[in-house]
């Protein structure tokens, strides 16, 4: 079996703080993995290891058998968590999408890059965003532009850090359709961080429950068991139910 991502005894320490410890993981090629865990669990850190942005303090990370920092960039389509978008940087949406193919900031777009970028924007139903300024886009529109940027290079591995943030309900359903279609057409693997357990249950083939260690990894029904969730979050049930129970106690 081919593995898209392998973690072998990986730990990450920031100074004295251990963000990830003893991670062992094999993600089969073609899987749709939802990564869930509380804030600070190390989810984004885990994606950054796969991207090669971060070196593990110990252990190693392989991407399709290649050490992560040496894996070709064109294999990876990345949507970062916080769009640390510098709103003072003058740019059009289509330029950001084109960085997905060019892997540089384009001084001038070639006709081929322009066409491919428009095509990717069409895929996320954002064609009309192409010539709008990035700084003026709404959060949900910006998400779609980043998604188009990830798609345009036709990656084998999509790394999505909370991609549904800022999207409305329809936009979110749409995004899952786009992801599933892309996956079908390109035989791609998806690693997606989310705080939405329901979405994980519905769309993922595998769920990784993380809290500095691997709490559970497997098919959604197994990984999202009460036992795993209790160990990861300290309680069971959807956050909505939790806030309801707090409210009802006051009443």
């Amino acid at each position: 079996m081919e593995f898209a991502v392998e973690f072998e005894d990986v730990s990450v320490r920031f100074g004295t703080y251990t963000a990830l410890e003893g991670i062992n993981l094999k993600v089969p090629a073609g899987a749709f993995v939802a990564i869930i865990g509380p804030n600070g669990a190390g989810k984004s850190t885990l994606l950054k290891l796969v991207l090669g942005l971060l070196r593990p303090s110990s252990g190693r990370v392989l991407v399709f058998g290649v050490p992560a920092p040496r894996a070709p960039a064109e294999w990876l389509g990345y949507v970062p968590q916080f769009k640390t978008l510098d709103r003072s940087f003058p740019a059009l949406a289509i330029e950001l999408v084109a960085t997905g193919i060019r892997r540089r900031w384009p001084f001038r777009l070639s006709p081929v890059e322009r066409e491919a970028s428009l095509e990717a924007l069409r895929r996320v139903r954002g064609e009309e965003l192409a010539y709008r300024r990035l700084a003026r886009l709404s959060g949900g529109e910006l998400q779609r532009v980043y998604l188009a940027r990830a798609f345009v290079r036709r990656p084998r591995l999509l790394l999505l850090d909370e991609p549904a943030t800022g999207m409305d309900v329809l936009g979110e359903a749409d995004m899952y359709r786009m992801l599933e279609r892309y996956q079908r057409e390109h035989d791609a693997t998806v690693l997606m961080i989310t705080h939405d357990w329901e979405a994980a249950r519905h769309h993922a083939t595998h769920v990784l429950v993380l809290n500095r260690r691997v709490i559970g990894f497997g098919p959604p029904e197994r990984a999202l068991s009460d036992e795993c969730l209790r160990r990861a979050f300290g309680h069971v049930g959807h956050p909505h139910e939790l806030s309801f129970s707090v409210g009802s106690r006051d009443a």
Partner: protein, 265 residues
């Protein structure tokens, strides 16, 4: 006006001014977007140390100041990268150090104080063939490095995306910092140490007001930088006042007009 252009020193002045106006404004767009303005003014002061060292050694001041300032720039970048001190702290330390160094050297050879004034305020009519050579060298390297525009721009937009695309962001940063230092030194004779930071930043800031893309901003900044130099030099000649000051006044006027124009839209 035409007989003005037949004077060799005026030809040198114009040529040096044009090259320096173009290169400084070109790097100015990165300085503005990366919020490195303070680095620009710090490097100008570091250049003072380099010029003083050149005068002290009886060498061509710009040719000593060039490597000196580039070295200081790399040290600043290194300290910023290796420690948790902010970039501004690193700049502050090295900039005062260089100025102190320069002042001491100048005091040891007091007959050069008048020369030092030309560097403080800029004296374009005193641009020597050797100065023009330094300016041309920096301009040529800038042109040669044009392919880096796309890498610097990418990392300016988002460092992590650039790194994930396997760009050697750290190396690129050092190169950019070194080039900003070189450009600052090459502009010192034209606009003076005191005003060179403004010279770097104002055309880019004006260009930013009117640009929808970073490429547009870059081109517009270069045009504005060159136009400011030409207009400023002519004014400086006509009214017999220091060139650096007139150039900065013209560029500031562009900026203020730009602000007014943008508010109307």
């Amino acid at each position: 006006m035409l007989d003005l252009l037949s004077l060799p020193f005026m030809q040198r002045a114009l040529l040096a001014g044009l090259l320096v106006g173009a290169t400084a404004s070109y790097f100015g767009v990165f300085v503005v977007q990366r919020r490195m303005s303070f680095l620009g003014s710090g490097l100008a002061h570091a250049a003072l140390g380099g010029v003083a060292l050149g005068l002290f050694l009886d060498a061509e001041p710009l040719y000593v100041a060039l490597p000196f300032t580039v070295l200081i720039a790399l040290l600043i970048a290194w300290v910023r990268e290796r420690t948790e001190l902010g970039g501004d702290t690193a700049v502050g330390v090295f900039f005062s150090l260089s100025v102190a160094f320069g002042v001491v050297l100048l005091a040891l050879k007091s007959e050069y104080t008048a020369d030092a004034m030309a560097y403080l305020f800029g004296s374009i009519l005193a641009v020597t063939p050797a100065d023009l050579g330094a300016v041309a060298l920096v301009a040529a390297v800038t042109l040669l490095l044009f392919p880096f525009w796309e890498r610097w721009a990418y990392a300016t937009f988002d460092r992590d995306l650039a790194r994930a695309d396997r760009l050697p962001v750290l190396f690129d940063d050092y190169l950019l910092t070194a080039m900003v230092a070189a450009v600052v030194v090459s502009a010192v004779k034209v606009v003076g140490i005191l005003l060179v930071a403004a010279f770097l930043v104002i055309p880019a800031a004006t260009a930013r007001l009117f640009s929808r893309t970073f490429a547009q901003m870059t081109l517009l900044a270069v045009v504005l930088g060159v136009a400011g130099v030409i207009a400023g030099l002519i004014a400086s000649y006509l009214y017999d006042v220091p060139s650096g000051a007139t150039i900065i006044l013209v560029e500031s006027a562009f900026f203020l007009l730009g602000l007014l124009a943008v508010r109307k839209i």
